[in-house]
Amino acid sequence: MDPPMDFQVVVLAGGTSDKLSPLVSKELPKALLPVANKPLLSYPLELLEASNLKNIIVVVEGDEAATQVESWLSVAYMDRLNVEVVKTPGDVGTVGAIRAVAPFLISTDILIVSGDLVSDISPGAIAATHRRHGAAVTALFCPAPVSGGADSSTSGGKDKAKKPSRCNIVGLDPTRQFLLHVVSGAKVEKDIHIQKRIVRAVGQMEIRSDFMDAHVYAFKRTVLLDVLEKENLYSIKQDVLPYLVRTQLRSEISAKKENSADESSNGATKELPSEDININSAVPSNQNLRWLSQHREIAPSSYQEIHISDCDMNKSRLAKKTHKCCIYLSGKTQYCARLNSVQAFGDINRDMLGEASRITGYTFSAQNNVVHPTVVQGAKTTAGGQCIIAEGTILGDKCSVKRSVIGRHCRIGSNVKIVNSIVMNHITIEDNCTIQGSVISSNVQIQERASLKDCQVGAGYVITAGSEYKSEPLTKR
């Protein structure tokens, strides 16, 4: 089937991330990590489906992970999405992942979505913005979570000791449509250098350090493929995007691309001559400039001036090319988070129960919780607000569950307290256990009178009777 927009989506689902250990393992790749009892990957996929973006390639790191993701996808999205799974070896970076799927990319624009995105921002809107501007790249940025949110916690303790770490530094034009400058991640610790030319071109550049790169990018395919030819690229966020942003006023891509476009228009693509110009990333500079001048309100004339002076001076050098780097800023009310750390896992699950419950797709009951009808609750057992308890779980007497997620087919004994925790599937918790602020992976057995506080327990772990743990990751050796 043909999607309404000629967009292909690449979902980078990752593999078994170290950052998420002990939660993910060979048996449970990151993509299938349950978030509010749904596999993580289902969130971006649902989001894409909602925007009618159904042409999806999922890139998974590692063979085993790929097989698992593929089998899950074939069951869950069989007739809904046109999904293909491509596997890559581990540790090739996001660029490596894109390189792996490059042969499959055929549509005009490519949307790259991180597989760990939990959000309600419409990718369709990003795609539309991208199209509307005819941009080379459009990136989604969202306001960074205020209190040590997902992204800042990944940068590790080193940054935290210092000043409040800033996730990214972005430069925007006054209309907040164009991305003029970007420094990301680890590089922020240094002084920042901003090209004067680009400030000059817009007159006024807004520099923000409180936006987070949500890892959703729309690329022109030609641009993307062109950039991929370059060496030493590893990450889209840290290499490709900054490169494109940096060179937007003298696009090297365009110059190159035009040649290839000439070749191609001489050759095979003669049957679609009008399309060719549109598809081509290298809009000849005058067209692009005219376009820019309409949209860059502040300094329209300067763009034209570049062009005029170029023509007038008749220099032999190539006319300056530009490409547009746009930004899609999410609203403050929209939810956007990336599950890229254990901390983020906890946060997102909690958000799913609270402020962002709309994303889960569950209908919360009057008690503000979701308890599957097949759940068996013993006497005097209460499931408080902001809880999700999935099918087949059996709770004993006098249990109390608050602000927690409990997966499928768990057996929970009597007098167990589960507060602010995530309990995945097939877990046995014996009597008189207390679990607070912890994450319990699947198939864990917790014997009676155990007490866990702020722990992450890896799959299959057995917690012996009466043991107490505090703030520890626990994994099976």
Binding site: G171, V188, Q204, K230, E231, P242, M313
Partner: protein
């Protein structure tokens, strides 16, 4: 006025303000720069007429309109003239809206000095407005003043509110309109605090560097190049104290503002206030003089326009159709054509068939027949005889243009200059009766000093015959090519060479409209360095097309460049030291010196050894007097002489190899004359025990894999090596094995 009262009373609600201080202003009647030379040699800039009214009148009128009650007029250069003017004008009278006090200092060389001097006078009691006497404005102050006071209440570290104005969006017009430099500011969007200020925007630097702490403290900021500095500030009394404490602060922006922002020692804060609709501009150079005059004629500065603001004692000009201002007693011949946007002062007479357009003509001028004046500023009592053609020039008081004289665009004729018959004054010339002061005085901060020294006797200059003047004065101001205007008998005046900006930049600051080519050039330049930078390191794309992240690449390239520079610099230093050693410095001292050099340049031992050896060889070249026959002998001598030094620095095999490699490199590049005697020298080095057989063999085996071209010297030394390895047969199997290995690898290749 009512407005201002409102603002006042609101401010005085505050109990601290109960002892109400009158709003004070410090008006600097000296700009401490040379941009209006040579005119400012004879008259202070603030008294120069702008559409027939001295500039200071505009400033004072604005101060009056915003409710300033006390003005401290700081005069420096030509203080007498300023005082006299104020005394005679209505500003000095009691019915003026404020009291005006002149403060005179003869020692101040800069705005910083001036403020320090004012601090010493102890007259400033509260917030004051700091303005220069060449600023034209019609903005309202109430809001900004209130905002400033509120901020002060919250945060006593607020010391200044700067007025900024959104400039023309296009960088080209923005910079060429007033001839300003581009300014880059970083402003906090919420508080409007100024976080970064960079003027004299250096085009060679392509990137602006913001300190990381800026962003750590502020989640967002605006980086703007589309602002103009209005040069009007609301200052707290602390500003004076800061100037006093930092006695090296001279320039208000370059030192004070930057010092406060960048040093960050004092924690003082500067805020900005952006004005949008009102007019503010500063007459900074001839270009802005032209632009602002036109703005005034076109009434952008209303109510400060010629038919409202006039303090002279002659008839006032009236506005007529097409933006023509004309005093009632102007005598125009019926055939005179007056173009739009022209002002003609009282008592001026214009003869038949003359045409005037886009110009300002002062009072009591006499203009003859068939004269054409376009875009000129003609001040008072100027006589222009028949048939003169003037375009885009400034003609000061008392100038006399004889019949048929022509002024090309950009000409400045200072007071009482005479231009002879049919003389053409070339474009951008500046002509004055006073000779140009010698160059060393023209340091920007020193205007005051040389304005005084500049006014030297020569009232009778016109009476001296041209040849004499040339002889007397040109010789005394020899460096300047001050030539007397050739112009028959009646021409009088020196042509000044442009001193500070140089001819290339002249067009930017001149009254003349900027030629189209220059504009293009300027524009191209502005964006061309970007173009050239596209290959540069900072773009992150190197020639090979690989991508390096921006920060990484800069760091890398920087260090690399430094490193290379250092080694060659180090070699040079070593060479110099070595030369001194030949001059008879004790060997230990040389060793010590070279060692310390090695450490300070942070080079390796091997590199150091190479450098020492290079110095030895170079000394040999000098000793040989560049005759080839002597070369070998000289080299042997040199090696013999420096044996101790060499053996001190050449201690192990690696260093020895480095020396051989260095020698090889030298033979190929710098000192080709050694090439034929390479093997002999090598032999010598071996004989003198500078280099051991191990090193030589290693060198040879290292070279085994090299290109043919690299092996020239190995081949040359083949005989020696053979003998040598033969002699040292006993050195062990290992060497032979190595040799054998080298040979087999050669075969394999």
């Amino acid at each position: 006025m009512a407005q201002k009262k409102g603002g006042k009373s609101a401010a005085s609600d505050d109990p601290e303000e109960l002892a109400r201080t009158p709003l004070q202003a410090v008006l600097l009647a000296d700009t401490f720069n040379l941009k209006f030379r040579p005119i400012t040699l004879e008259r202070p800039k603030v008294l120069l007429p702008l559409v027939n009214t001295p500039m200071i009148d505009y400033t004072l009128a604005w101060l009056e309109s915003v409710g300033v009650e006390e003005v401290f007029l700081f005069c420096c250069a030509h203080a007498e003239q300023v005082k006299e003017y104020i005394g005679n004008s209505h500003w000095g009278q009691s019915h003026a809206g404020f009291s005006i006090t002149t403060i005179e200092s003869n020692f101040s060389m800069s705005a910083g000095d001036a403020l320090r001097f004012i601090e010493g006078k102890n007259v400033i009691r509260g917030d004051f407005i700091l303005i220069t006497g060449d600023t034209i404005s019609n903005m309202s102050l109430t809001e900004a003043l209130q905002a400033h006071k509120d901020r002060r209440k919250k945060d006593p570290d607020t010391v200044m509110t700067m007025f900024v104005k959104r400039s023309k969006p296009m960088p080209l017009t923005h910079q060429t309109r007033l001839g300003n430099d581009e300014i880059m500011m970083a402003i906090d969007p919420e508080t409007k605090q100024l976080l970064y200020y960079e003027d004299r925007f250096d085009c060679s630097k392509r990137a602006v560097t913001l300190d990381k702490s800026l962003l750590a403290d502020n989640a967002s900021l605006y980086l703007r190049t589309d602002l103009e500095d209005c040069c009007i500030d609301i200052c707290s009394p602390e500003v004076l104290t800061i100037f006093l404490d930092n006695f090296d602060y001279q320039h208000l922006r370059r030192h004070f503002v930057k010092g406060l922002l960048h040093d960050d020692i004092m924690g003082k804060k500067i805020y900005t206030h952006e004005i949008d609709s009102s007019y503010t501009a500063r007459v900074d150079n001839y270009r802005s003089y032209d632009t602002i005059s036109k703005d005034i004629i076109q009434r952008w500065s209303f109510p400060l326009v010629p038919d409202v603001l006039y303090a002279g004692n002659r008839a006032q000009m009236r506005l007529q159709r097409e933006g023509i201002y004309k005093a009632p007693d102007v005598t125009l011949s019926p055939s005179v054509r007056i173009g739009a946007f022209t002002a003609i002062g009282s008592g001026t007479i214009i003869g038949e068939n003359s045409s005037v357009s886009n110009s300002v003509i002062g009072e009591l001028c006499t203009i003859g027949r068939n004269v054409s004046i376009d875009g000129c500023y003609i001040w008072d009592s100027v006589t222009i005889e028949d048939g003169c053609r003037l375009s885009h020039s400034i003609v000061c008081d008392g100038v006399h243009l004889h019949t048929g004289a022509t002024l090309e665009p950009g000409v400045i004729l200072s007071f009482k200059v005479e231009v002879g018959q049919n003389i053409t004054v070339p474009a951008y010339s500046k002509v004055s009766l006073l000779p140009q002061p010698s160059k060393q005085d023209s340091d920007e901060e020193l205007e005051y000093a040389d304005t005084n020294s500049g006014i030297i006797d020569s009232p009778s200059i016109a009476s001296i015959s041209p040849a004499n003047i040339e002889h007397d004065h040109v010789s005394s101001f020899d460096t300047e090519q001050s030539v007397l205007l050739e112009g028959g008998l009646s021409g009088v005046g020196y042509i000044w060479t442009s001193c500070e900006t140089g001819n290339e930049e002249e067009w930017r600051y001149s009254v003349a409209p900027i030629p189209v080519e220059k504009l293009k050039e300027f524009y191209a330049k502005m964006f061309d360095e970007d173009e050239s930078s596209s290959d540069g390191e900072q773009t992150g794309i190197t020639h090979s097309g690989e991508l390096i992240s921006e920060s990484k690449s800069t760091d890398f390239d920087d260090s690399d460049g430094e490193y290379k520079g250092d080694v060659s610099k180090f070699e040079k230093e070593v060479e110099e030291t070595f030369e001194r050693a030949l001059g008879g410095v004790a060997e230990e001292n040389v060793q010590l010196e070279i060692n310390s050099l090695r450490m300070s340049f942070n080079v390796t031992h091997a590199e150091c050894a190479g450098a020492v050896f290079q110095s030895v060889i170079k000394s040999a070249i000098i000793a040989s007097n560049s005759s080839k026959s002597n070369l070998l002998k000289a080299t042997i001598d040199a090696i013999e002489r420096s044996k101790g030094l060499l053996s001190y620095f050449i201690t192990n095999v690696d260093e020895e190899i480095e020396v051989i490699l260095k020698f090889e490199e030298m033979c190929m590049e710098i000192t080709r004359e050694f090439a034929p005697i390479f093997s002999s020298v090598l032999h010598q080095l071996y004989d003198k025990e500078v280099i051991t057989e191990d090193a030589i063999l290693k060198w040879e085996s290292e070279k085994a894999d090299a290109d043919e071209s690299d092996k020239v010297f190995v081949k040359q030394s083949e005989a020696f090596l053979k003998v040598f390895s033969h002699l040292n047969f006993s050195t062990g199997v290992s060497v032979l094995q190595r040799l054998y290995g080298a040979m087999t690898s050669l075969k394999l290749l």
